[in-house]
């Protein structure tokens, strides 16, 4: 069995070149059996627009070195973790003086280290691996400047009924710099210049020179639920002032389609009944 807990699940540092920092990780073996584990750090690239990553045979940056500061452990060498026990792993991250000012993304992995056993059968050996992301910004400034643009901001559908399905807002932001930043802002829905609702954006990391789909807090998709009064609405995507990202607006219309349909249906039924009554021959 592989049953491992790793914390923290992500670290984010802004570093100057020629600096060494350490980060303590805690690895917990939750199973009733001891396990042999190993460690490694692999660079990753962002993939897709929702925070996924890929490990596509990338070579490590020689200007950033990773090692374990534990007196009895070395990065890449197996160690045994007793059943139901914890181990602190102290990862040392060192940047050389010549490190290019930019972001560097890696994952610190803890994985099961068991040699394949010879079997007299057809056999697959499953190996568990768990990772914690490391987002490093190498910069001379504590707060690298943000330069980003909103790629898309759409409302679906554009014309909607007062009841029935909810209204969805989708957006994507493009980071034009070599440093990641966190999204922070709101989608403000207004009607006749009056705010109807504010949806708070999730704090998502937008990685360097990459894009990220926007999500809302407490919702997997930014959604406005019915019922809504009929009329013309405006949704404005606005980011916190510190990010200096220009706001974007889009319009949508709410129409009383289902009430009209309902009334029309009732009218049709009444007409049908009335016609039937009139057309019945007198006995």
């Amino acid at each position: 069995m592989f049953d491992i807990t790793l914390s923290p699940y992500q670290i984010e540092f802004v570093l100057k070149p020629n600096i060494t920092i350490t980060q303590v990780y805690e690895v917990t073996n939750n199973s009733d059996q001891p396990i042999t584990l190993n460690t490694e750090v692999l660079p990753f690239l962002p993939q897709g627009n929702n925070g996924s990553v890929t490990y596509a045979n990338l070579s490590s940056n020689p200007n950033i070195s990773f090692s374990l500061s534990n007196s009895n452990l070395i990065l890449g060498q197996p160690f045994t973790l007793a059943a139901n026990s914890k181990q602190q792993l102290v990862l040392k991250i060192k940047t050389s003086p010549t490190t290019k000012l930019s972001d560097y993304y890696s994952t610190f992995f803890v994985y099961q280290s068991s040699p394949l056993t010879e079997n007299d059968s057809n056999f697959s050996q499953a190996i568990g691996k768990i990772g914690s992301h490391i987002l490093l910004s190498i910069s001379e400034e504590e707060n690298p400047p943000v330069d980003a643009t909103i790629q898309k901001f759409l409302t679906t559908p554009k014309i909607k009924d007062v009841f029935l399905t909810p209204l969805n807002f989708t957006g994507q932001v493009q980071n034009n710099t070599n440093y990641f930043f966190k999204t922070s802002g709101k989608i403000i829905i207004t009607k006749n210049n009056q705010t109807i609702k504010e949806l708070t954006l999730d704090s998502n990391n937008v990685l360097a020179n990459y894009y990220r789909r926007l999500t809302c807090a407490q919702q997997s998709v930014c959604t406005l639920s019915p019922p809504l009064w009929p009329g013309s609405y405006t949704a404005t995507l606005t980011f916190d002032e510190t990010l200096k990202i220009p706001s974007v607006s889009t319009s949508f219309f709410i129409l009383p389609l289902s009430p009209i349909l309902f009334l029309a249906l009732i009218a049709l039924v009444i007409i049908f009944i009335t016609k039937n009554k009139r057309s019945k021959p007198l006995l």
Binding site: D3, E12, Q23, P46, G51, Q112, L116, I130
Partner: protein
């Protein structure tokens, strides 16, 4: 003089009896040494019926980037409870297919479970060190009934004349009932299979289970399937399967 001595004696006694215990922060253990420790007054989680606050008071010169040369954007505060940690479990690591019979699909399964505090969810990726191998012979990775599935595309695999090795993942609840949560974007149902990405062939590990929101004890059943042709060379075929859990950044 005697009065002075008595006064000093009483003062020393009072000093020892009335002084408060002070807990100092330590930076060493038998196993590690923190080179850039942060000396705090206090820190941790404060809760009431209406709020939860996490803080760290007394951090050395926060924001003095020029002096320290680094700043922490996340990962500084300690993790308090299990739900704040990232956990991954595989209930069975040994997948013994026994003797293989041509044109009779042989399956093995295990259950993976993930818990993530990340507000942005998780990905679980898979790869194999190489296709099933016995000395010089291999069982190739399946291409499914249509002949088109690979490590990133699934396909239906039910025909007994379709040979190879592949897997299916189906999200399940705590009772083992299929929910397809986390896996529905990768496998339409349990007749869909795909290949493992082969590290030997320089293929990149591929995501087969994913969610974009926090998950607690989210499980999936992975079914590994082998079907061999009557012409398959005899032997004990083996490989290693990597199941990799990472948070979304």
């Amino acid at each position: 003089m005697t009065l002075n001595k008595s006064f000093i004696f009483i003062f020393v006694l009072l000093f020892f009896f009335l002084s408060k215990k002070i807990n100092a922060q330590t930076f060493t253990s038998p196993n590690y040494q923190i080179e850039f420790g942060n000396f705090n007054m206090t820190g941790g989680k404060k809760t009431s019926t209406t709020y939860t606050l996490t803080d760290t008071v007394g951090q050395n010169a926060p924001g003095k980037y020029t002096n320290t040369g680094y700043t922490v954007k996340a990962g500084f505060q300690y993790i308090y409870d299990l739900y704040q940690s990232f956990s991954f479990k595989i209930d069975d690591l040994d997948l013994n297919f026994g003797a293989l019979v041509p044109q009779v699909g042989s399956t093995q399964s295990n259950i993976i479970t993930i818990t993530t505090p990340s507000a942005h969810g998780y990905d679980i990726l898979a790869s194999e060190n190489h296709p099933l191998l016995a000395k010089s012979a291999t069982i190739p990775d399946t291409t499914c009934d249509s002949g088109t599935c690979d490590q990133s595309t699934s396909g239906v695999w039910t025909e007994i004349t379709t040979y190879g090795f592949g897997f299916n993942a189906t999200g399940i609840n705590s009772s083992g009932v299929a929910t397809n949560i986390g896996t529905s974007n990768f496998f339409t149902n349990n007749t869909y299979y795909r290949q493992f990405a082969s590290v030997k062939d320089n293929e990149t590990p591929q995501v087969f289970m994913s969610e974009s929101q926090p998950a607690k004890n989210r499980s999936a059943k992975i079914t590994y399937k082998i079907n061999i042709s009557p012409n398959q060379s005899a032997g004990n075929y083996e490989n290693a399967i990597n199941l990799i859990a990472v948070p979304k950044y």
